[in-house]
């Protein structure tokens, strides 16, 4: 509790190392939307197979950081970045990287469920369709596997040909998770996946994240402190575009090293 944000620009680290090593390294990463800077010199390592939570007050750059990982921000005009981000020692922002191939390594789940206006089965197999897979057998297998993986199979197995927009909000979000894991990615990026859901559906998704631990490396943005505490192994606290503290979830929530983190997790601001 010795450091304060203003006089010190460096992050405090105490992360838990996973058994599978480090997946991603983010070093000195800066990002500008036009003239305004949204990320300031972020340094971060993401462990393979663990669940990493991003927390922080609204507008602090969590989504920005998450979307930088699979380069969704490329769509935005006037974006500039500086710094480095690697996955398996490969530079994500190198000019030789194929963005499309990169995105296939990462599944993404958005804040609001965004199933496509097609059948449930077609939604799940969309990443395969993109890859040009036409084999019925493989497609059917994937549907079942991904829906089971997203704990949705039992509820929809009889209506796979029905329009996905007919599902409930929670089911839609699990369908989106199924879609994200259908392409067999290594990383799952989740931007507030439960914010549009009721407690029951939220609990289901949390159970799901727990079950996916170890198989995928998961990065999840959340506003829900309890959720971060429940599902994640490491937690990163961001504030005003800076990474303040990054470490073991239990420490962040019980005994953080930085005052600002303490204030935030105890609900004094944010």
């Amino acid at each position: 509790m010795s450091s304060s944000v203003d006089d010190q620009n460096s992050t405090v680290y105490h992360i838990e190392r996973g058994s599978q090593g480090t997946l991603m390294k983010i070093s000195d990463f800066n990002l500008w939307y036009g003239k305004s800077q949204a990320l300031f010199s972020v340094n971060m390592e993401i462990e393979r197979g663990l669940v990493t939570a991003l927390i922080g007050p609204s507008g602090c750059g969590k989504s920005t950081l998450l979307r930088s990982i699979n380069r969704m921000n490329d769509l935005i005009d006037g974006l500039t970045i500086k710094g480095k981000m690697t996955i398996d020692d490969q530079d994500i922002y190198s000019s030789v990287v194929d963005v499309i191939a990169l995105r296939k390594v990462m599944g993404m789940v958005f804040q609001k469920p965004n199933p496509f206006p097609m059948s449930i089965a077609d939604n799940v197999t969309y990443p395969l369709k993109v890859d040009g897979v036409r084999d019925r057998r493989i497609l059917n297998e994937t549907v079942e596997k991904a829906l089971k993986g997203a704990a949705l199979w039992e509820e929809v197995k009889d209506r796979l040909k029905e329009n996905a927009l007919g599902l409930s909000g929670g089911q839609q979000q699990r369908l989106c998770i199924a879609r994200a894991i259908a392409g067999d990615p290594e990383v799952l990026l989740m931007d507030e996946p439960c914010s549009a859901l009721d407690p029951v559906a939220t609990a289901k998704i949390e159970d799901l994240i727990d079950a996916l631990r170890g198989k995928y490396s998961i990065v999840i943005v959340t506003h829900n402190m309890q959720q971060a505490a429940r599902v994640s192994d490491n937690t990163a606290f961001m504030y005003l575009g800076k990474l303040i503290e990054y470490g073991e979830t239990s420490i962040i929530f019980t005994n953080p090293k930085v005052d600002k983190t303490m204030e935030y997790v105890t609900g004094r601001f944010g």
């Binding site: 469920p113 496509f116 206006p117 969309y126 996905a164 927009l165």
Partner: protein, 587 residues
């Protein structure tokens, strides 16, 4: 915060640090009275009134068209009026009006004067459709009320619709069936109708000979001539190929001409036969008229019709109107070629405008870098919608028909020159011209539809590793389809009722052939065609007899509106199907 000395003209507020803030009190009165202005009620009313006026105008217009259009074919009673001079006039009442008579339109000034004075100088007159154009040289007559001696509705008066000269109103005296005379006493409408049935089959045979068999002989003659001309163009007049072809041509034309002679004499024989079956008619003034029975298309006694007979006349007139070709400078017969032409042109136009507009909008919205240039293009596209349509017609004629069509003729149909094939207005060029005219509508609608596709859908697709093109193809376009359809519906509605440019690029008053027939290649995009919109214009403003054309104008307008309405309904149903697919669901 604490209050100090409340209730004064000034309120003194103190913040947490004890600093006193002085605030001017505006002492605003809160009224519990219903605030008329704030609720915006007057504006709601005026908006409602504006809407009501708009709806009223549309409803009124449609009602007018419907009323006149639907009643046109209803058989009306024939009244026979006796005038002071002893003349009689028979006809059905078109309308009556009150007017200020001048000396020239009062037949007998002395006796009429009293009634006119009684009516404060006004008099009444009625317009009767009298028919019998061949006898009196006009088929509508004004009858002045004060000239009428008596008026009655004879039960046995006949209304005869014929192929030429418009209707005949009068009575039948006798019938001559190839020498067998049936006198008036034994003559009934049933007997006439029976003879008419036989005559009809003869007429159909003549039609078949002239329009199908002789037409096909002409077609082959022309084909042979073109083949010869082709060889001439390729090898020259002196070449052995030409000589060989010439022999062939001569042989072919000889057999064709022989066939033609045969058919022509058969037709002549039937016509000869036809002229021996006649009916002797007489109008109300006793003027005789002998009419070949084959000329009669429909006959009935309008003052003595049962309900079913009335319905039969009504429906059979509609049937004739919808399925027959026009006669008598388009004022009689049907409009089938015009319906067909309008339909073909609209469908072709939609097929032309849809891909063009959608592709343009896709590029503008999804691929082009949004900047000054794109904005400029967008403004230009929007302004295109404001260019007078006749300008498109001029462009269509100049560019499509003369430049494009001219080149096509030179490349592919040199043997037909100087007769143009694609080098003059036709179905294809008219459709393309209208496609050009309506493309701004489709572009704007498509751009809007694309913009309405939620960003989250695109992101979801991209996050799955889809390329931009895949995202557009599988996510954006299907989702935007209902909006695109809306644009297309608007374009079709606009295009189907456009007339001005069509007059330049291929619509004609009377097209000799339909754009689809039994001769290879079956669909003839280069042919000129008839169009309901132009038909209305032609009837209303170009016909010899405007009074006779008025009901046809209403009926044709009704038909055009119905046709466009039907096409729109069809597309709306398709669109709603799509919508149901993409916009169901709940959160």
């Amino acid at each position: 915060m604490e209050f100090n000395e409340p209730g004064k003209g000034q309120q003194i507020l103190a913040d947490t640090d004890g600093n006193v803030i002085t605030q001017a009190s505006t002492s605003r009165q809160r009224s519990t009275v219903w605030d008329f202005k704030a609720r915006g009620e007057p504006f709601v009313w005026s908006l409602g009134a504006a809407l009501a006026i708009g709806v009223l105008m549309i409803v009124g217009f449609v009602a007018l068209i419907l009323y006149n259009g639907i009643l046109t074919f209803y058989p009306r009673p024939i009244e026979v009026v006796e005038l002071r001079g002893g003349d009689r006039i028979a006809g059905d009442l078109i309308r009556s009006e009150t007017f200020l008579p001048g000396t020239d339109n009062v037949a007998d000034p002395d006796s009429s004067a009293k009634t006119i004075i009684d009516n404060k100088g006004l008099s009444k007159r009625s317009l009767l459709r009298t028919g019998n154009f061949d006898l009196y040289n006009d088929d509508f007559k004004w009858v002045f009320d004060d000239e009428i001696v008596s008026k009655h509705f004879p039960k046995d008066i006949l209304f005869i619709e014929r192929l030429e000269w418009g209707p005949f109103i009068g009575s039948a005296k006798s019938m001559d069936l190839n020498g067998q005379i049936i006198e008036g006493a034994n003559l009934s409408t049933d007997g006439l109708e029976k003879a008419q049935d036989e005559a009809r089959s003869r007429r159909l045979r003549i039609y078949e000979i002239e329009r199908t068999e002789i037409a096909s002989i002409n077609h082959y003659l022309e084909k042979a001539r073109l083949a010869l001309r082709k060889v001439e163009l390729r090898h020259g007049l002196e070449s052995p190929e030409y000589k060989a072809e010439l022999e062939k041509y001569k042989a072919e034309t000889e057999t064709l001409n022989a066939q033609y002679q045969e058919l022509a004499s058969e037709a002549a024989a039937i016509k000869q036969m036809d002229s021996r079956f006649t009916v002797n008619l007489e109008d109300v003034n006793g003027k005789p008229k002998t009419l070949p029975i084959s000329q009669i298309t429909r006959l009935f006694t309008p003052n003595n019709l049962s309900f079913t007979e009335r319905a039969w006349v009504y429906l059979s007139r509609w049937y004739e109107f919808l399925t027959q070709e026009p006669r008598e400078a388009n004022t009689e017969g049907g409009v089938m070629p015009a319906i067909f032409g309008t339909f073909c042109m609209t469908v072709l136009m939609a097929l032309g405008v849809a891909p063009f507009g959608v592709v343009a909008a896709l590029y503008l919205k999804e691929y082009a870098k949004q900047g000054k240039l794109v904005s400029l293009i967008r403004i230009c596209v929007n302004n295109l919608a404001g260019v007078p349509s006749i300008v498109y017609g001029v462009f269509g004629l100049g560019f499509f028909a003369y430049v494009l069509g001219g080149s096509i003729d030179q490349l592919f149909y040199p043997e037909r020159l100087p007769t143009p094939t694609f080098g003059s207005g036709g179905l294809l060029w008219a459709s393309l011209t209208l496609a050009l005219l309506t493309v701004p509508v489709v572009i704007v609608a498509t751009e809007e539809a694309l913009a309405a596709v939620p960003q989250s859908m695109r992101e979801g697709s991209l996050a799955c590793g889809a390329s931009k093109w895949q995202t557009i193809k599988w996510i954006v376009l299907p989702r935007a389809l209902p909006g695109i359809m809306t644009g297309l519906i608007l374009a079709m509605a606009r295009g189907a009722e456009e007339v001005a440019p069509l007059m330049l690029v291929g619509v004609v008053k009377l097209a000799p052939e339909l754009p689809i027939d039994s001769f290879f290649p079956f669909v003839h995009f280069e042919r000129s065609f008839m169009h309901l919109g132009f038909h209305i214009f032609d009837l209303g403003f170009q016909s010899r007899n405007s009074e006779a054309a008025i009901p046809m104008v209403y009926v044709t307008t009704l038909l055009l509106i119905t046709l466009v309405f039907a096409m729109n309904i069809a597309s709306i149903i398709i669109r709603n199907r799509l919508k149901r697919k993409f916009f169901t669901g709940h959160f």
